[in-house]
Assembly symmetry: C2
Homo-oligomer: 157 residues x 2
């Protein structure tokens, strides 16, 4: 595609606005668990997923969170080292490693959750109840949208 010198107006560019908003919220929540438990954002995301759905593989976690696989592996390795997450071979398929929170990981998770919910509440206080419902609905629609056709990702002819 030839350059036409168009600039990105970032204030109106949805991917950018979403990333800034996500970073703000994630950073606010991270202040709770980074100070108290030394967790990074990717580490907490892995714990949050395993807290809800135990027994996932690292690939499952990456798929659900849309995180980078390398980022997930690194986070899992740190969490295992800190005895917050444990690995177990799948009973029927030994090649698959299943992850779960340890008792220690679960205690940390239980400690963080109420604070995370409180911060979400502070954040959503910006919206009236009907706006919250709309926001959820719009996120749902956007989450189902296919993006990145092969026509684009192959780039130049």
């Amino acid at each position: 595609m030839p350059s036409n010198g168009r600039r990105l107006d970032l204030d109106g560019f949805v991917p950018y606005r979403l990333s800034v908003l996500t970073n703000r919220v994630s950073n606010a929540i991270a202040r709770i668990y980074s100070e108290r438990f030394g967790l990074t954002i990717p580490e907490w995301r892995v714990m949050a997923v395993l807290g809800q759905a135990s027994g996932l593989s690292a690939s499952d976690v990456a798929r659900r969170t849309e995180m980078d696989k390398v980022q997930v592996s690194r986070a899992v390795a740190n969490l295992v080292r800190g005895r917050r997450v444990q690995k177990q071979s799948d009973s029927t398929d030994g090649r698959v490693t299943r992850l779960s929170l340890t008792a220690r990981g679960r205690a940390i998770y239980d400690d963080i959750v109420p604070h995370a919910l409180e911060l979400e509440e502070q954040f959503l206080a910006a919206l009236a109840p009907h706006e919250r419902a709309t926001f959820h609905r719009l996120i749902g629609k956007l989450s189902e949208q296919e993006i990145g056709s092969s026509a684009i990702s192959t780039g130049r002819p």
Copy 2:
């Protein structure tokens, strides 16, 4: 705060939903510039900001994007090494380093922008025009919301 064993229902937890959505969009756009120019997501974010507002410092970039300072410094260092971004001392305050795209960086930026806009368009096709306007408005409200009071971030008594 005592643990009450509440679980996070991630499908309804806005910070999580936002992070998954942001990662999806960012990853889709990243496929364009990572394959063609070897750029990482933080590197492209820095370039996108400098493409619009030349002469910012690294701290300015971190503030605007809500990115981690370490992440920004690392991205800037790589971009400078690849001659995509240049540093210049501020003419009135020599302690401040101002960043801008080089001609090479600008050419890459000009190449990526139309693709990024096309992907945004694909993504937003999920929403009707009035829903897009609503989405922007709700993001705007949420972006202005204060989150993370000192009461929470100090944690335990």
